[in-house]
């Protein structure tokens, strides 16, 4: 980003997340009460010391109107707080909080998001986000659309079935050490994966993200405030989001120009990347993103296992940011890229570059 804008330095200083196949012992409010208080406690902040609170969730997913208002019970909104909500992945709520911090009125923000897809059919819920005249009435599920995308890539010769399975294998092995990894394996082989039957041809089960319930809470702080609350803040060096056409037929599904542009605007090329947490709901989408972000061998991709290992609609993107930030905060890595997507076939993309000082 241009220096002439006098951007404030803003950092992720604390994160908490949880993902599991089916959340049965607690509801969304109880889950988030726990995660929000953990993130606040590790930053040493009380809710009344937080300048802005922003969340991301979906009423269609929850099956309940204004469901995010219920979840405010988990925040502790008394005395009254400054609050906002996006019907998008929490990564986009983080962007709103980042803008709010840039305005300079507040120095700290709480961002959280959550999803409980186990309560319904998430692939049908996602069909309702499509063009309501020509596409949505056909009820194409998100994995079938991603299957068409993967087929286009194969036809074009830019990926192979083997490369897809390699990505699936990377996810399962990396997720093995991740307590939030729902689908993981220490010793799965390429042969195991390539012998699975196709579900949304050419995509096999392991090529599709593993749907999971869960949530994530993140604390942001600006300038000296971040330094005073955290030994090694994960400074946001650049954040940008871009969008491609809603009309699937008008796009080249083998590419994601909005992802590439967001990465460029966020300053992807200014230095090396130690890690990248990229958000694709299929192995083929991860391959598109690797190319759009020009990721090289020096960058470890999805050390958490990524969304393929556990995909919580509305939170998977924010969790990517949390995964990169927590590794910077702990000193494991110096610089990383986090990516979040929304919409069908990588339509909307957000890129956040973070760095330890």
């Amino acid at each position: 980003m241009s220096k002439s804008h006098n951007f404030r330095d803003i950092a992720v200083i604390s994160v908490a997340s949880h993902q599991t196949k089916i959340l049965s012992q607690v509801n969304e409010v109880q889950l988030m009460a726990d995660l929000i208080s953990r993130s606040r406690n590790s930053a040493g902040l009380k809710q009344e010391e937080i300048g802005f609170t922003c969340s991301g969730s979906s009423d269609f997913l929850a099956g309940q109107a204004f469901s995010f208002v219920h979840t405010l019970d988990a925040v502790g909104a008394v005395p009254p707080i400054s609050e906002s909500h996006v019907e998008m992945d929490g990564a986009f709520a983080l962007y709103e909080a980042w803008v709010k911090l840039q305005i300079g009125e507040v120095d700290t923000a709480l961002v959280y998001s959550y999803g409980k897809p186990s309560a319904g059919s998430v692939i049908d819920v996602l069909a309702t986000q499509l063009d309501p005249y020509y596409v949505s009435p056909l009820w194409p599920d998100c994995f079938s659309l991603a299957g068409l995308q993967a087929r286009s890539l194969l036809d074009k010769g830019s990926i192979s079935l083997e490369r897809m399975s390699e990505v699936a294998m990377r996810s399962q092995k990396n997720a093995f050490d991740n307590p939030n990894g729902v689908r993981s394996s220490e010793d799965i082989s390429l042969d195991d994966l390539m012998s699975e039957p196709a579900i949304a041809d050419p995509l096999r089960k392991s090529d599709l993200s593993e749907i999971a319930d869960g949530g994530c809470a993140v604390i942001l702080a600006a300038d000296n405030k971040a330094d005073s609350l955290c030994d090694r803040p994960a400074w946001i060096k650049g954040i940008d989001h871009r969008i491609d056409s809603h009309t699937l037929g008008a796009r080249d599904l083998t590419r994601s120009p909005s992802a590439s542009l967001a990465a460029e605007k966020a300053g992807r090329n200014s230095d090396r990347l130690d890690i990248a947490e990229i958000h694709g709901i299929t192995s083929a989408q991860e391959l598109i993103l690797e190319k759009e972000f020009a990721l090289e061998d020096e960058t470890k991709i999805n050390p958490s296992g990524g969304a393929l290992a556990s995909d919580t609609v509305m939170a998977s993107g924010l969790i990517r940011i949390a995964e990169v930030a927590s590794r910077i905060i702990s000193g494991q890595v110096d610089r990383g890229l986090a990516h979040a997507t929304s919409g069908p076939c990588l339509q909307q993309n957000l890129v956040c570059i973070m760095e330890g000082k």
């Binding site: 049965s24 012992q25 607690v26 509801n27 409010v29 109880q30 009460a33 726990d34 929000i36 208080s37 809710q47 269609f60 099956g63 405010l72 019970d73 988990a74 925040v75 502790g76 909104a77 008394v78 186990s118 309560a119 319904g120 059919s121 049908d124 819920v125 309702t128 309501p132 005249y133 949505s136 009435p137």
Partner: protein
């Protein structure tokens, strides 16, 4: 669609319709029905509450911060965003915190004559209201602070639902002064 629909608003420019479809009835609207099915499983505190409610017992949650009691229990103190696990049992008696006389029928509730009175019932020992109907007296006798008690459904009709209390009827006890009635959770620790 053959039903009448309002005409679309006039366009700024005249549209030339291709000859091939000039005799065809214009499409003025489409229908694309959406049906989504959910399998909602109440959280453990809600399950415990509903099971007890089916046995005419009303459970609440006591805040670990200041002891305020919330009913029905939700597992959190919404003022502070902290988890609650202390369960308290509340009596099926209390007072009217505030109320509303409604003249419009509720769709599907043909058994409910209008006008009816809905009210926040403040159970003895609770710090927030509990939504219910007030009956058993003339509507214009209902007032803030009026003491009431639950009229439950018949034993065989009780179940794990929010519908086990038919309505709340006056007990005839002296009323609570209006400035002491109603929601007390928000100034509980003052």
């Amino acid at each position: 669609m053959t039903e009448s629909h309002p005409s679309p608003s006039p366009l700024s420019k005249k549209v030339e319709i291709p000859e091939s479809i000039r005799e065809v009835e214009p499409v003025r609207s489409i229908r694309s029905p959406v049906k989504l099915v959910y399998d909602f499983v109440p959280s453990p505190p809600v399950q415990e509450y509903l099971r007890s409610y089916s046995k005419k017992r009303i459970l609440g949650h006591r805040s670990p911060i200041d002891g305020a009691v919330f009913v029905p229990p939700r597992g959190v103190d919404p003022r502070h965003g902290v988890l609650i696990d202390e369960v308290v049992e509340l009596p099926d008696r209390g007072h009217v915190g505030n109320f509303c006389v409604t003249h419009l029928p509720i769709p599907g509730r043909d058994d409910l004559d209008t006008p009816y009175v809905s009210a926040w019932i403040h159970l003895d020992g609770a710090n927030v209201g509990f939504l219910g109907l007030v009956a058993g007296c003339d509507n214009d006798e209902v007032h803030i602070g009026m003491r009431v008690q639950a009229v439950w459904k018949k034993e065989e009709e009780l179940g794990n639902t929010a519908e086990n209390i038919l309505f709340w009827k006056p007990t005839g006890e002296p009323s609570i002064p209006p400035d002491e009635a109603g929601n007390r959770a928000w100034d509980h620790d003052k």
